[in-house]
Symmetry: C2
Subunit: 438 residues, 2 copies
């Protein structure tokens, strides 16, 4: 085997005209990167080329001479455009060999759907000599791996669900057994709500300051912020202990702002709390227009706790369906604390739910006034023993104002169940920091 001393990291190549035309966003590359990082294999370059033999050959040669691991995706399909396998064989001076077992598998795949295999599918059973075949239980195109001067090149299909499975079941285990790592890496991802990215950074950055084996990363997933903790240690036990310690410190500092440690979104966290405590909820939505209800029902099993939602967009619907007093509406306006309270109480009483939640506000772009500008939003929560309402002045566009309002409503439920204070509105203000809008 040739020395690999001058090679490092992983290169990820994707092949396809459609990627270069900008018709689709290439999410496979970020998937690969994230998975490789779990093995402490750093990805050093992403390259996309067209379905063009010269271009593919050029980057394959360059990647094989520079990286220790190369992952190539796309171009393994049955059509004329799919030339990756042929080009790889030619580039590295290997002949193509047909694998009869794979061919049989492709035939059987089509038969299961009552169809004959088309002639052009046969080439999906061709592989460069000395390739190791990587099964693809979800499609007709298997992947393969070849070794070139000490570098492993993994060829995978371009269809995301096929390649995701192939990476997890075939590629990562092979890489794990090959790279005898000197360090054990463990990571955690905490989802938070109620504090901007730059504030989070300021509050937490000292946790990693004097210890290069701890890395903190921040990422916005509107309206939440994710905190990624990566620790390195010499062995499994130390890594676990260190990760636990840092995660514990973050919990101490952020308190109720931490939603989950496993990326579960707010609606899943709230749904779980409601189900655990055997509580039910009913919604009265105005400015959120059904989104609050939609989010809660995205969670399988939500019929256990969601009784109903009334989207009372028109004033007459607020009166008829929620029992809001017409005089109150006239005196205070639909976007007001008393109407928000009346909506929450109305839907709770009608439905018999434990919690009634309401939203009313001006999502924009139109409808704002000097007194109640676009972004003015009220969220109220009513239980059998008390009712409470909060006013927010949001500063985003229509879509984000709606999204943030549903998050505030869900957080109202969450914090009420957990017996926690509501967050200060100040923390929700947008900051000028870059990078959050990708």
């Amino acid at each position: 085997m040739t020395s690999t001393a001058n090679k490092s990291g992983a290169w990820i190549l994707t092949v396809g005209d459609e990627l270069l035309r900008g018709e689709i966003v290439d999410s496979n590359k970020s998937f690969f990167s994230e998975r490789l990082l779990r093995l402490d294999v750093e990805c050093t370059r992403h390259i996309t080329v067209a379905d063009d033999a010269d271009a593919i050959s050029e980057v394959l040669r360059e990647a094989a001479s520079r990286a220790r691991v190369v992952v190539i995706s796309g171009g393994l399909g049955p059509t004329r455009d799919d030339i990756t396998t042929r080009v790889a064989a030619k580039t590295f001076g290997r002949t193509l060999v047909r694998d009869e077992e794979v061919l049989e598998g492709i035939r059987a795949f089509f038969l299961r759907f009552g169809r004959e295999m088309a002639a052009n599918n046969a080439k999906q059973a061709d592989f460069p000599e000395a390739a190791e075949i990587l099964p693809n239980p979800l499609g007709t195109a298997p992947g393969f791996v070849i070794e070139v001067e000490g570098t492993w090149l993994f060829f995978t299909p371009g269809v995301p669900r096929e390649l995701y499975r192939m990476v997890d079941e075939e590629i990562l285990p092979r890489l794990q057994s090959r790279f005898s790592r000197t360090a054990v890496v463990r990571a955690a991802l905490l989802r938070t709500f109620g504090m901007g990215e730059s504030t989070l950074d300021r509050e937490l950055s000292d946790l990693a300051q004097d210890d290069s084996s701890i890395t903190l990363g921040f990422r916005t997933q509107f309206p939440d912020n994710l905190v990624r903790v990566v620790v390195r240690a010499e062995n499994e036990d130390d890594a676990k202990e260190k990760l636990q310690r840092v995660v514990g410190q973050i919990h101490e500092r952020l308190g109720p702002m931490v939603l989950s440690e496993d990326e579960r979104p707010m609606e899943a966290v709230v749904g779980e709390l409601l189900a655990e405590q055997n509580l039910t909820v009913a919604l009265a939505e105005s400015c959120t227009g059904g989104l609050l209800s939609h989010r809660l029902t995205e969670v399988p099993g939500s019929s256990r706790y969601l009784i109903q939602s009334i989207v009372a967009y028109a004033d007459e619907a607020k009166i008829r369906e929620l029992g809001v007093d017409p005089a109150l509406l006239k005196a205070e306006g639909a976007v007001s604390a008393p109407v928000a309270l009346a909506m929450a109480e109305g839907v709770r009483q009608r439905s018999g739910a434990d919690f009634g939640i309401s939203t009313t506000g001006i999502a924009g772009p139109g409808g704002g006034t000097d007194e109640k500008p676009v972004g003015t939003v009220f969220v109220a929560l009513s239980t059998a023993t008390k009712s409470d309402v909060r006013k927010y002045e949001l500063r985003f566009d229509r879509v984000r104002n709606k999204e943030l309002t549903t998050q505030l409503a869900l957080d109202f439920i969450r914090r009420t169940i957990l017996g926690m204070e509501l967050p200060s509105e100040d923390l929700l203000r947008p900051t000028g920091k870059r990078g959050g809008a990708h």
Copy 2:
């Protein structure tokens, strides 16, 4: 100027560790590609590198020697990681020159928010000598363009909304005036619903078969499919005429399956029809859980036609809020044609809306039976003069089953207003074709 004979197309480089770690999906590249294509400039390579001087320098040099246009995004910010400008200057042997006018602009930017400019922001006013500065009205980092051996290199910020504007206002006009194109290119994008991607391909592909100046492209945006028509001609008039002819042919063949010619989604098309005809609508949602209402209210001004939506998740809510007969629910089950009809009629009568629409079904993953498997869905529409219901057997996951059901409900309204037949369910079946799931 050096000859550019051996150079072709555009390369797009993005810079940033976060892109290589897979923490965010890099959507800037597909934006650049799509915009360049409008000028008939073909993008031939996408490359992403880390915030590393050697790596950036290497790809800059390679790109400048191979492409006619290079667009670089990222690394123009104020932090230590932001080294693109400095590296570019060094790579091409230029000194850095501070632009006092830009510096003043950055200071003023911060003053508008009542803040002092931090010292590290000053470097955003440094540019390689002979660079032309590209204004950034949305942020502190201007872009710039330099010419290297006949190749233009455009440096842009990484924040999407800043760079989108810079591309449209600064970069595209410069490219347009530079490349004296021999052909005029015009494109249209049609949004369709009701036919799979491969069926569309089969129905339409002959339109471009004998004419290499016409290209058809297909792309899935679940549950819709987009058809892209690109035509080339010698002059503006011919291009327009040709585009119109092909778009007309597509309309003839697809009829009501074409939703819009400007990418407007179904909810906007339906909203416009309702507003135009002064019609109102009320919704009774079960399996769609508020998503139907949410989609309609995503359209600004939807309060003109949406009166209310009742998300009646529990049986008791269907009885109480929609007046569904308990005996009917017991005899037929909540997921049945008679209950769907009763829901649509109930919400229409209560609200006084012109249309009542209902959805009821089993979105999954649980809740299916032999008789009513997961994906069984009923959609009903009721007007003052008639009621109608459709049954569908959808075969996706929970999220997509909900999404597709809302699309079917909206299409029910659209086709009813337009006096069109409903589509055959067969056409909605998923196909095995690759590429749709990116």
